[in-house]
Homo-oligomer: 346 residues x 2
DNA sequence: CTGTTAGCGCATTCAG
DNA sequence: CTGAATGCGCTAACAG
């Protein structure tokens, strides 16, 4: 005989979460008082506050942020897009970003782009529906549609892992061109002349390689055999890379790889073939040095601090969110730099 | 001109995202028609549908899922909690889970617990406010408050990486006790007698070790020197672990480590000290075999397929979400198993 | 097929 | 300090 009204009873029964209204009726106050007791306790009389807290306890009430948009303007949600989380270099970026964001009271929505701008567009599409307060992207290569949607959205954005002539918003990264140049210079100085590349089919990797090719081109080296491989990067893939290179008749004295994992594969394959490293063949990687060191004690590499990128990116976002008019974040460009670290393999 | 305009002009101006209502007024239809044109296009007359699509294009409208709770029941959000994303074993679990969830049209909210139940409780608290449709947890050790909140929430849950007498809901994992036993049995069979452990301060690691100690205890071995270290696991930490062990006067013939990374550190330290592996000292790790192989070609290890855990967990969640009454997921228990892989280091 | 009405859970006006 | 009324963006339920 109970009326079939919207009243779902006082206590949140199994299955249904109690709402702020449920708490209010149990506490015998109005909904708004509950809201205030929870969000701005200091303006609520202690006795009422206590009543509310007891009701919250009793019901196991957990406020819902889902409908918050109805009133407040922020979702306290930040989206982070990375190509993959299986690559330590990105997982460190992600980890650092999450740490900073969580500390500041934001939740993190994660999206995997698998190194593809098209995939990024799909993921972005889903993510924009959540109205995140900020977005951290990997790279600066996005589809035209993505760029339009992002800029129309008015959401603060940080692009990472790259430099760009004209970023969408903020930028925390480094110059892949500079890396290509620096690697070329170092290797040339060491006397290497027969370059080859084993790389992933990835825009950033390509940028580094093109830059390297340009640089050594100016020293008269024009032929650079290059094997391009599909993600994900694995050691086996690196081995296959060197194999392909040699099968094609290349005889490099140095192989530059787009990641430490590939480089490690090349080192293994070289060892298998009895190729003396670095005497007959030098190997160069790219990634996080500590990771490289784990892979192979002698691996030479371009060292990038992924964690710092994630941290800086998150901090930039937070600064903007704190004060959207802050001019210091308006055209933020952070170059976190890199180091070319030569070890036993070169 | 009979429409009663709801305030803001037609086009969403810079800064404000256009709403479904804006689209409706531009298209000259009612809001619900826009909603239907977008969600169930087949029940809308083609001409109207077209009008709506054009208006959507023109305004760059992106539907908001933030307030969806107001009408629909699902958030299409799944939360995944892992201790860290910097450990390849968990990042693979995460990667696989995200892949499955994204494919099914769910977004992933990520939480980092840093191996701590207290931290997990905090993160969980924030996440429950988002009313996710499902939650994937790592481990079965949660604070009492966490357990209560989770079970009251009525949200489908998958606990992973572990077995438990009485899981909260669904479970995809393996038995750490079985691993401890299996490792003990294998090492005893190989003739090792002086056991030692280098482990992270982590409940699951402790379970494995306790089980191992129990097993070898039954063979009369009662003394097992053990170094417990704070996360995160690093190679350097593993080296320090062996150092500490030896400084304390232990002289093990086998060191069992709670992760491959620590084991790798132990191997390095042993090499540095000129200790013959595996003649004078054997080393045992735990993690993903392919990862272990990258770390050290000879590393023995308990091989766990992290990706499979993530995949299975996500699939279980989806099955439940598809049909909440499906009995097959009601008491789902999946044991993904493990392999003890002995290689050169034992 | 389409529009009207109502309401989700919460917080922000503005009155008391 | 407290509360009633109102609105957020969206969609079920029920009309037409």
């Amino acid at each position: 005989m109970t009326s079939k009204r919207s009243g779902r009873g006082q206590a949140g029964r199994a299955g249904k979460q109690p709402t702020l209204i449920d708490v209010a009726s149990v506490a015998g106050v109005s909904p708004i008082t509950v809201s205030r007791a929870l969000n701005t306790p200091e303006i609520v009389r202690p006795e009422l506050r206590e009543k509310v807290f007891r009701a919250v306890q009793k019901l196991g009430y957990v406020p819902s942020m889902l409908t918050q948009r109805g009133s407040e303007e922020r979702s306290r949600l930040v989206a982070v897009l990375v190509p993959t989380v299986a690559n330590s270099i990105f997982s460190e970026t992600l980890q650092a970003a999450i740490d900073v964001l969580t500390e500041a009271g934001y939740e993190t929505l994660i999206g995997l782009t698998n190194y593809s701008a098209e995939r990024e567009e799909q993921v972005l599409d889903a993510i924009l529906r959540r109205r995140p307060d900020g977005i951290i992207l990997t790279g600066t290569l996005h589809t035209a549609a993505s760029k339009i949607r992002l800029s129309r959205s008015g959401i603060p954005i940080v692009e990472t892992w790259d430099s760009a002539r004209k970023p969408l918003d903020m930028l925390v990264g480094f110059s892949h061109e500079a890396i290509g140049q620096a690697v070329a210079a170092q290797l040339l100085a060491k006397g290497y002349r027969r370059f080859a590349a084993v790389m992933l089919d990835d825009a950033r990797a390509r940028q580094r390689k093109d830059s390297l090719v340009r640089e050594i081109g100016e020293h008269g080296i024009t032929e650079v055999p290059c094997v391009v491989l599909p993600p994900p990067a694995t050691v086996a893939l690196g081995r296959a890379g060197l194999t392909t290179l040699l099968e094609r008749g290349a005889s490099p004295d140095v192989v530059v790889c787009s990641s430490d994992t590939l480089a490690h594969g090349v080192l293994e394959e070289a060892a298998e073939r009895g190729i003396n490293v670095p005497r007959a063949l030098a190997v160069m990687g790219f990634g996080d040095l500590s990771h490289a060191a784990h892979l192979h004690p002698a691996l030479s590499s371009v060292n990038i601090n992924g964690a710092r990128i994630g941290q800086r990116a998150a901090e930039a976002l937070l600064a903007r969110l704190d004060d959207p008019d802050d001019l210091s974040t308006a055209k933020l460009r952070v170059d976190v730099g890199f180091d070319v670290v030569l070890r036993g393999s070169t």
